[in-house]
Amino acid sequence: MTLRQSDIDAEVSAIREAYAKARAGGAPAAHHPPRDYAPYRSSVLRHPEQPLFAVTASNAPEAVELTGPVFGPADVTEFDSDLTRQHTGEPLGERITVSGRLLDSHGRPVRGQLIEVWQANASGRYPHRRDQHQAPLDPNFTGAGRMLTSETDGSYSFTTIRPGAYPWRNHENAWRPAHIHFSLFGTAFTQRLITQMYFPGDPLFAYDPILQSVTDDAARARLVAAYDHSLSRPEFSLGYRWDIVLDGPSATWIEEGR
């Protein structure tokens, strides 16, 4: 039986209604997607069924995870943050910059830490052997970058091209909204985060079970960058702003909490 968009939409709605009811009953907001989210079919066999074991600063003050890797200049080059300059020619597409700050849950900047990004090209194609989408590769665009956040305010900025939407096989006529993958480290391994940034106003948002896996409306909105005209550069690029906030306890939190 063909799995249609309307089938996925019905499942998404049912989960959303259950969440609204739980919230009305006093349940806390869910900032992350549930790992068991059937509308995203690949999650069905890949989520644990047992509850997670809670490790707290009080039952494991020496936990290795309260520290984390600290990356440095040997890990990045100055060319890694401009994805339009990694080949001899100019990539096809709309040149953009994505800028923002990396913060911890107390709003403090995460300084000098590694951010990695990867994305499809302007046609919606990844240079990956498993990507079979019939859209052209761009010899002038690979779509992978990395940089360290600033030592002063935790800011970052990538120059790239706006990625295209692309089809996938979750269900019939499934399309991913344009997005950039982000990988982030905090000061503790517990703060590790991999996520995706979206572009404002994309009409595909409502149809995408990956974005909709974040059931909380406000949380989902935090995955969408803002167009910021002050970040656009004349005759060159359009500017987007996206701040990232890491979850999870860290050793510095414990020290300062004493």
Binding site: H31, H32, P33, R35, Y40, S42, S43, V44, L45, R46, H47, P48, E49, Q50, L52, F53, A57, N59, E62, V64, E65, T67, G68, P69, V70, F71, G72, A74, D75, S105, H106, G107, E116, W118, Y126, H128, R130, D131, T142, G143, A144, H181, S183, F189, T190, R192, L193, I194, T195, I210, S213, V214, A218, A219, R220, R222, L223, I244, V245, G248
Partner: protein, 166 residues
């Protein structure tokens, strides 16, 4: 001021040209006489290998950790992708803590999972708090030649104990 966190998303299927890096599984420098091998497979709830998982390792042990391998120094951070059979391997040094911290990412996994590979099975607050069959899933089993096996089962029978840090 408290800030609400940015939600997690799956790593997806196409990270392969971006996240794995040269020597990602070589936390110990080549030829280190005390190096150990930690390896295993990732399985889904049907018992099928997961060929597109990304596994990270953190043990610190006095190193800052890095992506770059200089060929001389041990580094406490590793990252490897599973192969077509769901298998992964890292070469490292025995950790000072009884365990190496492990973080699992995969297509289909909306939010990463933390676990621990215990190479030392002695008394430990976390291990001791688990039922025997659950505890078993965190024990890296020593085979021959300083090699430890640590399989990760995402769901179902023998499901690995995954951790949540609060």
């Amino acid at each position: 001021m408290t800030q609400l966190p940015t939600p997690s998303h799956t790593v997806g299927p196409f990270y392969g040209y971006a996240l794995p890096f040269e020597g990602g599984g070589d936390m110990a420098p080549p030829g280190h006489p005390s190096a150990i091998t930690l390896h295993g497979c990732v399985y889904d709830g049907a018992g099928a290998p997961v060929p597109d998982a990304l596994i990270e390792f953190w043990q610190g042990d006095g190193t800052p950790g890095s992506l770059h391998r200089n060929g001389v120094d041990f580094t406490g951070f590793g990252r490897v992708a599973t192969d077509g059979a769901g298998h992964w391997t890292v070469h490292t040094l025995a950790p000072k803590a009884p365990y190496i911290s492990v973080c699992v990412f995969a297509r289909g996994l909306t939010h990463h999972l933390f676990t621990r590979a215990y190479v030392n099975h002695g008394p430990d607050a976390l291990l001791d708090a688990l039922a025997a069959d659950r505890r078993e899933t965190l024990l890296a089993r020593q085979g021959s030649d300083r090699a430890y096996r640590f399989d990760i089962r995402l769901q179902g029978e023998g499901e690995t104990v995954f951790l949540e840090f609060r």
